[in-house]
């Protein structure tokens, strides 16, 4: 549905996207993860033609971004991270305004507004000014505006920032429902790993403008399973030697070996390293990591915007 070929974008000397080659499956919900400054918002803005790219090619729904932007904008919609509507207008007025800009009018406009309102569950507050809405309602209105044009591709940039657990769950369910019922392709940029783990079919992890992991959810998470050896009497020199081994991490007294094809070889290297030392294995556990652990392992723990 969406194909990126060697996509690049820089802000001055800073590379925001560094040769991305990637495709997003039609009808799938793809979670787009990455630390601050990874290039998520830049990517979504380029896909909507709001930002120009420096190089590479982009195809959305078969349309080339070069020369077919109008068609791309007709079939896709970006729900921005900001609450991009008019607080002094009511929910209905906001929806009517943005609906008109989608080319809707008369009965069709009213029908789409009704559908978006139902999808975002805003019926009771439709004639109240948006500035009086709670944080969750504002997020839902922001989302509802994005649904007005009945897009085939929906880009969501941090759609649940600053809302309570109930609203988050509701928004996630709505996104899944739209995806399921309308077949909408959804690209979902978020910092919340549990949300992506829960809602996404596919996962793409970006860091410093590059793809560090991409694939189906099960595939990404499966690669993250580990075997944990609890080891007593680890000294500093031994920890350094263990950390130098491929597929091995050390967290306090735990030696963590990644699951996957190379696990047996990695375990063997760990056992060889322990042989002849004071250290001894006091426990062995299998552990299924969360997406957050995968994310931190792939993108490192250092702050990106410090």
């Amino acid at each position: 549905m969406i194909v990126l070929e060697n996509l690049t974008k820089a802000y001055g000397a800073q590379r925001a996207l560094d040769g991305l080659t990637l495709s997003f499956r039609e009808g799938a919900v793809t979670g787009l993860l990455g630390p601050n400054g990874a290039g998520k918002t830049t990517l979504l803005s380029i896909l909507m033609g709001i930002l120009p790219r420096d190089g590479g090619r982009v195809f959305v729904g078969g349309y080339d971004l070069d020369g077919r932007l109008a068609e791309i904008r007709r079939i896709s919609c970006l729900v921005p991270q900001n609450l991009a509507f008019y607080p002094v207008l009511t929910g209905r007025e906001n929806l009517s305004f943005f609906g008109s800009l989608c080319g809707l009018s008369g009965r069709a406009l009213r029908a789409r507004v009704r559908a978006a309102v139902a999808a975002a569950s805003l019926e009771s507050f439709l004639d109240k000014r948006a500035e009086t809405y709670s944080g969750g309602m504002k997020r839902r209105l922001n989302l509802a505006i994005g649904l007005l044009g009945n897009p085939r591709v929906l880009y969501l940039d941090e759609p649940t920032v600053g809302v309570d657990a109930q609203s988050r769950t509701w928004i996630l369910e709505t996104i899944r429902r739209i995806n399921r019922e309308e077949g909408t392709t959804v690209v979902y940029a978020s910092h919340y790993m549990d949300e992506v783990e829960q809602a996404a079919d596919d996962i793409v992890i970006l860091d410093e403008g590059r793809i560090v992991q991409a694939g189906g959810r099960e595939e990404v998470l499966a690669g993250a399973d580990t075997v944990v050896l609890e080891v007593a009497a680890l000294d500093a020199a031994l920890v350094d030697r263990l950390r130098a081994l491929e597929g091995v991490a050390v967290e306090d007294s735990a030696v963590v070996v990644s699951a996957g094809p190379g696990m047996a070889a990695a375990l063997k290297r760990v056992l060889l390293a322990l042989e002849g030392t004071e250290a001894r294995i006091v426990g062995v556990n299998g552990r299924c990591r969360t997406l957050e652990e995968v994310f931190l392992r792939l993108t490192s723990r250092a702050l990106r915007d410090a």
Binding site: Y11, L51, P80, A84, Y86, V88, L89
Partner: protein
């Protein structure tokens, strides 16, 4: 067209919902024009009711001092207060420092003798003027000229009396000559005002002269609300969203222009109405609008378009509403100062007079003065209208270019 209508409807709704700002937009210019018309309207006018207090200490031993006081009473916007006999300049200084009078005129004991001196060697300092230094220099000059004129009349009277027998001998009627000399006005001097169209000129009053300045100034203050709301929307992300919906920056600029253009026109109408009907209620002189409603409409429209285009450029350049407020406010003050809104251009130094040719406020002001005071019509303001519209086009184009460049750099996201 459907999109433009949707944007205009939204703009009017947003504008209408912010009733406090809207009230301020209409109310403040009205109050501003009222206060400025009343505050500045009466000073230095031919039929002024303002009287500047002047203390006169007449220590003259002769009759000329009294004659001088009488001539001064008829001259200029002064309220002459005479000090009791025996007062000295120290009393005048005390009253000046206390702010009870603004000027004092001390007539020395040898004043009469000095005025009648036939050998031309008068005593220096027979008349001492004391001035409150806080008084505007124009008022000081007015006072000095009034005293000089009065002293000249006294000297002429003394001279005529001195050569009385010669006048009798020459058959000159001394009574008529004395009356002419003492009169406040000289019938030999006539004042006429020129107009673009013969017979359509206005006798100027300070309201006629000051209202155009404040209209121009108020119209340009639209820069502040336009730029701050525009930047607010940009930083809020709505413009990015609209860009993603294929809404062109031109449409956004047009969407902002139309409602604020109407706001400007209502502002002008309110200010003119205040000048016409409210200022007289407070004792000021009523404004008269000249003879060309069409000229007024065309000029106000082009002035407003220029102001809004400037506002949109400020909005495109500014990064925050606060920054736009600062840039817009300072620009308005500078353009107003250079454009002759605060000080007439003709009294400025040459370099500023040249600079004022580049101020849209100067063009607007000249246009209004042509219409209000010189009896001008549409044809007489076409130059100013052309300059304002051309500037509006250039500024709007620049705003568009900056918005586009910002979007390319990622500023809109």
């Amino acid at each position: 067209m459907n999109r433009l209508l949707a944007i205009l409807r939204k703009e009017f709704l947003v504008l209408g919902r912010d009733r406090v700002s809207l009230a301020v937009l209409f109310f403040l210019p009205a109050v501003f024009i009222l206060i400025m018309s009343l505050a500045m309207g009466e000073l230095f006018t031919a039929h002024s009711r303002v009287r500047i207090p002047v203390l006169v200490i007449n220590g003259d031993e002769g009759l000329r001092g009294g004659a001088l006081v009488e001539v001064l009473r008829q001259a200029g916007p002064f309220e002459i207060r005479t000090a009791p006999a025996g007062a000295d300049p120290g009393e005048a200084r005390r009253l000046l420092l206390a702010g009870e009078v603004r000027f004092a005129c001390v007539i020395r004991r040898d004043f009469s003798a000095s005025m009648a001196a036939r050998d031309g060697r008068e005593e220096t300092g027979s008349l001492l003027l004391l001035v409150d230094p806080t008084v505007q220099v124009q008022a000081q000059e007015l006072f000095r000229l009034a005293v000089l004129g009065a002293a000249g009349k006294v000297r002429l009277t003394a001279f005529l009396e001195g050569i009385g027998p010669l006048l009798d001998f020459a058959g000159v009627d001394r009574t008529v000559l004395a009356e002419r000399t003492a009169a406040a006005d000289d019938p030999a001097v006539l004042t006429a005002y020129v107009a673009r169209t013969e017979g359509k000129g206005q006798v100027p009053n300070a309201v006629q002269q000051s209202v155009p300045s404040w209209i121009v100034f108020a119209v340009f203050f639209i820069v502040l609300p336009v730029s701050s709301t525009f930047i607010g929307e940009r930083t809020q992300g709505t413009f990015s969203r609209l860009a993603g919906m294929d809404v062109s920056p031109w449409l956004l600029l047009l969407g902002k222009t139309v409602p604020y253009f109407l706001v400007n026109q209502v502002q002008v109408a309110i200010m003119l109405a205040v000048g016409l009907w409210v200022v007289p209620l407070f004792g000021g002189t009523a404004l008269t609008l000249g003879s060309s409603p069409a000229g007024l409409l065309v000029l106000s429209a082009s002035l407003s378009l220029c102001a809004i285009a400037l506002a949109l450029l400020v909005a495109a350049v500014g990064r925050t509403p606060e920054q736009a407020g600062t840039i817009g406010g300072i620009l308005c003050l500078l353009l107003g100062a250079v454009g002759g809104v605060m000080v007439p251009v003709f009294v400025m130094p040459r370099v500023l007079q040249v600079l004022s040719n580049g101020s849209p406020m100067a063009w607007g002001l000249q246009g209004y003065l042509d219409l209000f005071l010189r009896g001008g019509g549409v044809r007489d303001v076409l130059d100013e209208v052309g300059l304002l519209l051309a500037s509006a086009a250039v500024l709007m184009g620049a705003a568009y270019a900056v918005l586009r460049a910002r979007s390319v750099r990622g500023g809109a996201a």
